[in-house]
């Protein structure tokens, strides 16, 4: 847990609540664009070093170190693209939408800094199609920034002249376009099919040029990293995760919301101290710590910090199992626990039908599978159908094992992580809430026995009819 004085630290949400926070005049009045001016006096390589030192990690889901991602761009590259992933679609996640609505200029300043560091001349923002209001706001901010000469105009820098163009690109409704290579294909005017890696985008990305894809929240941390330094940013974090963390809490809590909190706050503190606990005097059953792709935690695992490494390795979290006693192997001796993902925390109380909740998640992935890889295309459909029939009390003996088996067949066997995103929570829900699944089966059995008894008595009556 970060130090006490960091408890109220706001980095990316510091302008929330300010009137007209989306306007450039308000943003600059509150110190905005100073970091960009400072960045221009530094060498690009020094900026990359500063980001490395900051321990900034990608906030889109995977938690990959941003500085390292940047350093993969070949030095000799002539054309480099920066793409902002604003295709926020992970169920339970609602931070990027609010960040763009309330502070689009912080995102643009972060983009200016990153583009200067990377040698990018044209950056794209890929915004989710459904977010029409946010698209309008960001578009207005881009216009303002052009008019004020931040975009589209040459700047004198420590490394020669620098000019950046920014284009907003609207998606059209496909969860898979949040996967970075699916996003790049979509941006190129194709179906959002993820690409086989390697080559990674840093080598061959948008229009075949080296490309960095960063999440909205990630990029918005850059101004403060430049102003206050990488070491400061690393210092307010926890372990190898610098900075603060935005968590979006939804579901059964008294005060759901988007909160910027110290990196490493525990689920318990988050739910009971920040969000006012569980409503209606009920008890907590479990939570999903980082968007619906992540295995859930049960009520005994609340004290683990919500931080990238802790959620993957802390021994207080049970291993996700393929079958009782056999952990899901991530390779390299690592066992699957859960992940901090996109910061979408979904809390559910003890009245929740966990099997129905899981079925809804599986239906989501079945709907969003892009169809390229057979294990995911077919498997996600199986997970959805079998889980739904279990939830409806129509399960067959062996269904729980069937679900685990199908999920195990998807995980790790697909081009992109959508397959894992369906398999992991499935296995996680069975591991943590197996009793709920078994209860549904028992219920189905009782019902079937009653039905066949009724059918038998009907048959008898039929015979009486002449």
């Amino acid at each position: 847990m970060a130090s006490a004085d960091a408890t109220n630290l706001k980095i990316v949400t510091k302008n929330f609540g300010v009137v007209d926070s989306h306007k450039l005049s308000v943003y600059t009045q509150r110190g905005g664009m100073q970091a960009f001016r400072k960045a221009l006096t530094m060498a690009p390589a020094a900026l990359v070093d500063e980001v490395k030192k900051s321990n900034l990690r990608g906030r889109g889901g995977a938690g990959f170190p941003t500085g390292m991602k940047w350093s993969f761009i070949p030095k000799e590259a002539k054309t480099v693209y920066l793409v902002i992933n604003a295709d926020e679609s992970e169920p339970g996640t609602c931070k990027d939408r609010e960040l763009m609505a309330y502070d689009p200029h912080m995102m643009l300043e972060g983009m200016l800094i990153a583009s200067y560091a990377l040698g990018c001349k044209h950056a794209y923002i890929y915004i989710r199609g459904e977010m029409m209001r946010e698209a309008t706001i960001v578009d207005g901010a881009i216009d303002e920034s052009y008019a004020a000469g931040f975009l589209g105009k040459d700047h004198v820098t420590a490394a020669g002249s620098f000019k950046l163009d920014v284009t907003l690109h609207r998606g059209a409704g496909a969860y898979i376009c949040g996967e970075e290579t699916g996003l790049l294909n979509s941006l190129e005017g194709k179906r959002g099919w993820p690409r086989l890696k390697p080559p990674f985008p840093a080598v061959k990305g948008l229009f075949n040029a080296p490309t960095v894809v960063n999440n909205v929240e990630t990029i918005m941390n850059l101004p403060d990293i430049v102003t206050k330094g990488g070491e400061w940013f690393a210092g307010v974090g926890m372990g190898k995760s610098g900075g603060t963390r935005i968590v979006c809490v939804s579901g059964h809590v008294v005060k759901p919301g988007v909160y910027e909190l110290p990196m490493g706050i525990s689920s318990r503190a988050l739910i009971y101290d920040v969000c006012g606990g569980i409503p209606n005097g009920r008890a907590l059953k479990g939570l999903i710590p980082g968007g619906s792709s992540m295995p859930p935690l049960d009520a005994s695992e609340l004290d683990v910090p919500i931080e990238f490494d802790a959620l993957m390795t802390d021994t207080r979290i049970k291993d996700v199992e393929v079958k009782p006693g056999v952990a899901f192997d991530l390779g390299g001796g690592r066992k699957l626990k859960t992940m901090a993902g996109s910061g979408g925390v979904v809390v559910f109380d003890d009245t929740t039908d966990v099997v129905a909740l899981c079925a809804r998640i599986m239906e989501f992935y079945a709907h969003e599978s892009c169809g390229q890889c057979t294990p995911c295309r077919e498997g996600s459909g199986w997970l959805a159908r079998v889980c739904r029939r279990l939830a409806n009390g129509e399960g067959e003996p062996g269904d729980v094992e069937l679900l685990a088996n199908v999920a195990n067949g998807i995980g790790g066997n697909t081009i992109c992580a959508l397959g894992d995103a369906a398999a992991w929570p499935m296995l996680g829900f069975i591991t943590k809430f197996r009793a709920d699944f078994e209860a549904k089966l028992a219920h189905a059995k009782t019902r079937r026995v009653a039905e066949s008894a009724a059918a038998a008595s009907n048959v008898g009556r039929m015979r009486v009819v002449p």
Binding site: G92, C94, G129, E130, T136, H169, R170, G192, C248, G257
Partner: protein, 186 residues
């Protein structure tokens, strides 16, 4: 006669094309512009878009059918995107959807006979902290209750009727005349 873009759309398209190193990359924005103008994307519009960005109609068709926001058939003037994903589900998203279906007398995926509403069951719309919720165009309707939904539907229908009066003779479905397009230019 094959359809063509209005002067206003042509201007938007020209601007969009200037933002990408090749024409094909402008396909999604051009499809948005086409759908704004024509309401949906039947074959002749797909062919028009294909000519505009220099790709085959088959490619455009593949892209149109991949993304859920592009429609091959006519949709209602007010598209109600109701989220039923987990965060909304836990707080009554399905009750809201069923309430709307019952009020409008249609099922999710259908359009009311007068063309005023289309109801869509949506995946997570990124407003989880205000569940249950729905989007209609640029408007977010948050922390919904059945009572709130009733008021919203009445408001939207009144606004739609007023628009009908302003454009006599126009189709009940959008597709005729320019729509108040989203401001996105790219």
């Amino acid at each position: 006669m094959p359809p063509d873009f209005s002067a206003q759309s042509k201007q938007r398209i020209e601007r969009v094309l200037s933002r990408y190193p090749n024409k094909q990359a402008a396909l999604l924005p051009v499809l948005h512009i086409a759908q704004d103008e024509f309401g949906h994307l039947p074959d002749p519009v797909i062919e028009l878009v294909a000519r505009t960005v220099d790709v085959s109609p088959a490619h455009v068709y593949g892209v149109v059918t991949f993304y859920t926001m592009f429609h091959r058939s006519k949709h209602g003037r007010n598209e109600l995107m109701v989220c039923t994903n987990i965060s909304c589900m836990l707080r009554g998203g399905y009750e809201i959807l069923h309430h709307i279906e019952q009020k409008l007398g249609i099922k999710a995926g259908q359009t009311t006979p007068d063309g005023a509403f289309t109801v869509v069951e949506e995946e997570c719309l990124a407003a989880c902290a205000n569940a249950p919720m729905m989007i209609c165009g640029q408007d977010y309707f948050l922390d919904l209750t059945p009572q709130k939904v009733d008021t919203i539907l009445e408001d939207l229908r009144r606004r739609w009727r007023e628009q009908q009066k302003m454009a006599p003779g126009s189709s009940t479905l959008h597709g005729v005349g320019p729509l108040p397009a989203p401001k996105a230019k790219a």
